[in-house]
Amino acid sequence: MKKTAQNTNFRDLLKLKSIETRKGFKESFPEAHQFLLEKGIELGKLRQYSAKLISAGALTGTLLLSPPTGASSLPTPADIVHSLSETGDKDVNAIPQKEFIESLKNLLPKEVRPLARDEEKRLEMVVKNILNVNAKATLEGEHLNTIYGYIGAEQHLKRYPGDILESHGPYYKEGIAPGLGAWGYFSKSRADLNENLIETEKWYSVVQTLYLPDWNSRQPYLRDWYKYRKLLIVNTVNGNAVITALADSGPAAWTGKHFGGSPEVMEYLGGSRYKKGPVLVFFVDDPENKIKLGPVDYNDLSGKDLVQI
């Protein structure tokens, strides 16, 4: 890790500020400090602590102390199965993307938030039915803190030492990240870079593995499990969907975003001006590695009555 005078200085000052803030809190609120200490809550790890509680609640069905906005209007699984089959029976000429957007609108809460397991299951069914992708909120026992959140635009990642922005066309606007992704360079050198790795960087995504409650305690397993893990990202507003490969950890929780997408991913999800928006993120169950990275084309209009479209 190369340390420059500039970043060492800022890091040290940040560290100092962090110690001062902790000390200030302890002095101003000794009872609160003692309470948190007794409960075993470290404010530095508050997010992981909360995620653990939410995850346990989601599994036992006691996710919320108060119902989320719109939760009461969520349809039951039977309703969904019924509505899906009804759609299939009655409107054979429906444009899949339109149908998909409508289904998402019916299933998702008004505000972005972690979903309960039954909500996730219903969404998996819709994705499987319309996009024909075997998408899972939980795969091999692994689950993200949230699968419904905001995605933000990321920069290109350096694939090998000496990689430059100019070799990442056609999208140059976001630039190339000065630092490396969580798994370092994609290849040791330019010569080692193959088509697979080029596609991986092109369609890379970012999720907050750093806030997973068991991220530190289950190493190196989780690090390996998540590396280049295939993720389906769905823009819940327009229904655009893309298969990505996880290549970095982030963004920081205090940026107001939960996921990140490469310039190509963002361009496909929402166009050139798309910087942030609500998305769903699923693991792709693809044990034989048959599914290609990139856009999910599910608007097969062959056999449809084009006049009605």
Partner: protein, 108 residues
């Protein structure tokens, strides 16, 4: 619902840009993110307790430890403090952002 009840009030993107420019590895970046995270939690919780009458501290902390994500915490704070805590937390974060961005402005 967010992971922490005040998550939606805490958005500091300018600082993230600075950290990304200064760091070369993911570990280094995450270490700085973590420090900022810790500062935020202490500041916001301190701000909540500062504005909440002392007799309600214990009840608030108990609710907080049971469900840090619960949006009712904000309602509770508003009710008991008789203040607009959303606005107050946002102000605190604004002040903190400025402080953090200027941290190394006096370097030689």
């Amino acid at each position: 619902m967010s992971i922490i009840f005040y998550d939606k009030l805490v958005v500091i993107s300018s600082l993230d840009k600075k950290i990304k420019k200064l760091t070369e590895s993911s570990e280094e970046r995450q270490e700085m993110w973590q420090m900022v995270e810790e500062i935020i939690h202490h500041k916001v919780l301190g701000c909540c307790l500062d504005n909440l009458p002392h007799e309600h501290h214990s009840e608030f902390l108990d609710m907080f430890h049971k469900a840090p994500h619960d949006q009712n915490l904000l309602k509770y704070l508003n009710e008991k403090s008789k203040k607009d805590m959303k606005k107050i937390i946002k102000e605190e974060i604004k002040k903190l952002t400025k402080d953090l961005l200027l941290l190394d402005s006096n370097k030689v």
